[in-house]
């Protein structure tokens, strides 16, 4: 490469990422990038951003049932009184048109702005069950758990047996939470386990484990109900949900720690 090939500006890099360049120009930039690892990394990030943005927003580019009414509603308010002036047949025709547009939109895609339909998907049921368990048991003063922390070994064996899973109870002392105990709870219609922790101020967290019939994996997700938040994930046969009414960053650390310890006990 000669020296005059060495001039690639930021503008060139953007044009490269956005696909505005012809082939020879692309090749020139690609060979330049091979010698510029830092720039190459930045370009890679920009490309990843573009892909993610396109992927995320692409699904919004569709028509909805209400599109035509967006326009006709405007028209009605602009020319007041037209409805009475226009023969009934015409109004009927307009109505049919709206109906047809709606039917078309309905056939080609679910309404975009409507919330996703309630699904029986176990991964969505999990956070709700975890939040219910938290709301019911964490507020319990005298009997929040069936087996207390003093019987930690027994608790692990007992719940592990009912869950048919080698349960290791996570140690969250590094985050200031100590075990209160645990109990057997129904999760997805079978036996699940709830572990409860609290910090020195009495702030409580729960960790729910349930069998997951679908046997698949997800990454971390978050779900809120009022102030109560849940980090949850599914790892093969077991779904996990960490629930509390603490700052999200803290809850996330707890989820991270739980995941780490469960993963370690699984592979051991």
């Amino acid at each position: 490469m000669s020296a005059d090939f060495e001039t690639v500006s930021d503008d060139d890099l953007h044009a490269y990422v956005d696909g505005h360049l012809a082939q020879p120009e692309r090749e020139r930039i690609e060979s330049w990038l091979e010698k510029q690892p830092a720039k190459a990394e930045e370009v890679r990030q920009w490309q990843a951003q573009a892909t993610a943005l396109k992927q995320h927003f692409a699904s919004y580019a569709r028509s909805g049932e209400e599109d035509r009414s967006l326009i006709s509603a405007r028209r009605k308010s602009r020319s007041t009184g037209w409805a009475s002036a226009v023969p009934t047949l015409r109004r009927l025709a307009a109505g049919l048109l709206i109906f047809a547009a709606g039917a078309l939109a309905g056939a080609y895609g679910p309404d975009l702005v409507a919330p996703p339909p309630e699904s029986a998907d176990a991964s969505e049921a999990l956070p709700r069950q975890a939040q219910s368990a938290f709301l019911i048991y964490a507020s319990e003063v005298r009997h929040p758990v069936e087996v207390g922390a003093s019987e930690r070994e027994h608790l692990a064996t007992w719940l592990g047996k009912r869950l048919d899973y080698g349960l290791k109870i996570p140690d969250l002392s590094s985050l200031g939470f100590s075990l209160v105990g645990g109990r057997l709870v129904p999760v997805n219609d079978t036996a699940g386990a709830m572990l409860m922790y609290e910090d020195v101020t009495g702030e409580r967290l729960t960790v729910l484990l349930g069998r997951n019939p679908e046997n698949r994996e997800t990454s971390f997700r978050i779900s809120s109900r009022g102030e109560v938040e849940t980090f949850y994930w599914i790892d093969g046969e077991i779904g996990y949900a960490v629930t509390g009414e603490v700052p999200r960053a803290l809850l996330q650390k707890v989820a991270d720690e739980c995941y780490r310890q469960f993963e370690a006990s699984e592979s051991s």
Binding site: D18, Q49, L53, Q55, F57, A61, R74, P116, S219, S224
Partner: protein
């Protein structure tokens, strides 16, 4: 009452039965407009509001359209509505609405937490930088087109695009919820 407004009303009244070509053209743009409005807005609801405001404005201002490139004209109107809205919001900040986006429909199989991260990172961009990024990346406009639409020099488009991309990369790095993902 100015003459033009009167004429507009009459025209709309006359054309009510047959499809009005202008309205049909606007209708055809709505899917792309919906995508653009959502890419600018904080939530689905805000996106739909912005879309409605835009359609309303386009129809009221139709007499001002010069008859070339309806799409660019409509996108410019939306861009300006969005920028004004952001300015208003900056003066009267609302409580941040947490949508728990992770639970939204998994229509494109993207990891929900990744998307949440992306959307949060977008919230940190300025209105101008975000609009440029979306016009280029999602709507596929050329830099010169964006410059014309926003009435700024193309150099400004480039610096906004650059800033948007770097800030987004930075924000995604900071907000690393995914740091705890399994390394499989």
């Amino acid at each position: 009452m100015p003459h033009g407004r009167d004429g507009l009303n009459k025209r709309a009244g006359e054309e009510i039965s047959s499809a009005d070509p202008f309205e049909e053209d606007v209708l055809a743009l709505i899917p792309a407009l919906r995508r653009y409005s959502r890419s600018l807005a904080r939530s689905d609801t805000d996106g739909e509001d912005l879309l409605q405001d835009c359609v309303e404005k386009v129809l009221t201002r139709r007499a001002q359209w010069r008859g070339v490139n309806l799409r660019a004209w409509v996108f410019t109107i939306m861009t300006n509505l969005y920028r004004n809205g952001r300015r208003r919001r900056a003066q009267h900040p609302e409580v941040e609405l947490d949508e728990t986006l992770g639970l939204r429909a998994e229509e494109n199989n993207a990891d929900p937490l990744e998307r949440q991260r992306l959307l949060r990172a977008l919230e940190r961009l300025s209105a101008d930088n975000r609009a440029v990024l979306m016009l280029v990346v999602i709507e596929g406009y050329r830099y010169q087109d964006v410059a014309d639409m926003m009435e700024i020099p193309v150099g400004t488009v480039m610096s906004r695009l650059s800033r948007a991309r770097r800030q987004l990369a930075e924000a995604m790095k900071d907000d690393n919820v995914i740091a705890l993902r399994r390394p499989k």
